[in-house]
């Protein structure tokens, strides 16, 4: 009886494994694009930030203080009814930062970023800045977005 020739092995169908992987990849990417803002700013409050050419502050863990066009104030995602609440919250967060790092000298050294809407009045920003300073923040920056076409 003649021996049957062994059938050549079919290449494994990698498509069935790649398809879900590509799906997950595109979903992850879409989520990343949509959440990029809140991922890097530690807040989900949307504010129309003014544009600038000069950028000084690199990405780091900061305390975001947002002021919306309507005049609402937020520290991280918490709405603040008045300036005194901002001072109290900043004080609390700066103390927490120093305790987490086991270094009392770090109190006030966590960067506080004021995210003001570009249409608000300068007086409002000064009031918030004053409240932040009263809360013991020693490193304060104004949030800006890099202007397109600049270095």
């Amino acid at each position: 009886m003649p021996r049957e020739k062994p059938k050549p092995k079919e290449p494994p169908d990698i498509g069935q494994y790649l398809f879900p992987m590509a799906g997950v990849m595109i979903l992850t990417l879409a989520t990343l694009i949509m959440d990029a803002q809140s991922l890097f700013t530690n807040t989900s409050i949307k504010v129309d930030i003014p544009k600038a050419n000069v950028i000084e502050v690199e990405l780091e863990q900061s305390i975001p203080v947002s002021v919306t066009k309507e005049g609402k104030m937020y520290v991280q995602d918490y709405e603040m009814p008045d300036l005194q609440s901002i001072t109290a919250k900043i004080k609390e967060l700066q103390e927490k930062y120093a305790m987490e790092n086991n270094d009392p000298e770090l109190k006030g050294q966590q960067l506080t970023v004021i995210r003001g809407d570009k249409a608000i009045q300068w007086g409002k920003v000064l009031e918030v800045l004053d409240a932040v300073k009263k809360g013991g923040a020693k490193r304060v920056a104004l949030a800006v977005v890099k202007r397109k076409g600049s270095g």
Partner: protein, 147 residues
């Protein structure tokens, strides 16, 4: 009895998805995202640095004359005062570097009326920093010179 022919049941292959365009699109999206991230992500301009840096800047020889050569005030109506004198805002980009060159610490003083739009102040800070100011000191005036 006639032999019944066995029907050959053909195995239908499952359609293989064409992943080429799919991965192309994903890669393009990823590249676009990476390129646009600097324009999406917020950065900042320092208005108050750490105490250590400040102290370093504060150590100065005793001088009677102020080192600050650029003192700008923005009025709500758009008028700009440079060193207490009204000045054409369009000429600021030319004059600021010349004035800063005469200063040792290259600091600039900036104040604005409360009614000035925040974006205008940021643009002025940006201009000062772009033209070489090491620090922009923000000042609050009790009395404005504005008309």
């Amino acid at each position: 009895m006639p032999k019944r022919r066995k029907k050959k049941v053909e195995k239908r292959e499952a359609p293989r998805p064409n992943l080429g365009p799919f991965s192309d699109m994903t890669t393009s999206l990823l590249i676009m995202f990476m390129l646009t991230i600097p324009f999406i992500v917020e950065s900042g301009i320092f208005i108050s640095r750490s105490l250590a840096t400040k102290r370093r800047n504060v150590v100065t020889p005793k001088k009677k004359k102020s080192d600050i050569k650029v003192n700008i005030h923005i009025c709500a109506d758009g008028t700009v005062f440079l060193n207490e004198e009204p000045f054409d805002p369009n000429r600021l980009p030319d004059i600021i570097p010349k004035l800063l060159a005469r200063s040792v610490k290259k600091q600039a003083l900036l104040s604005a009326d409360n009614d000035v739009i925040y974006e205008d102040v940021i643009q002025m800070i940006d201009l000062l920093k772009e033209k070489g100011a090491s620090d922009v000191l923000i000042m609050k005036r009790k009395r404005s010179k504005c008309p």
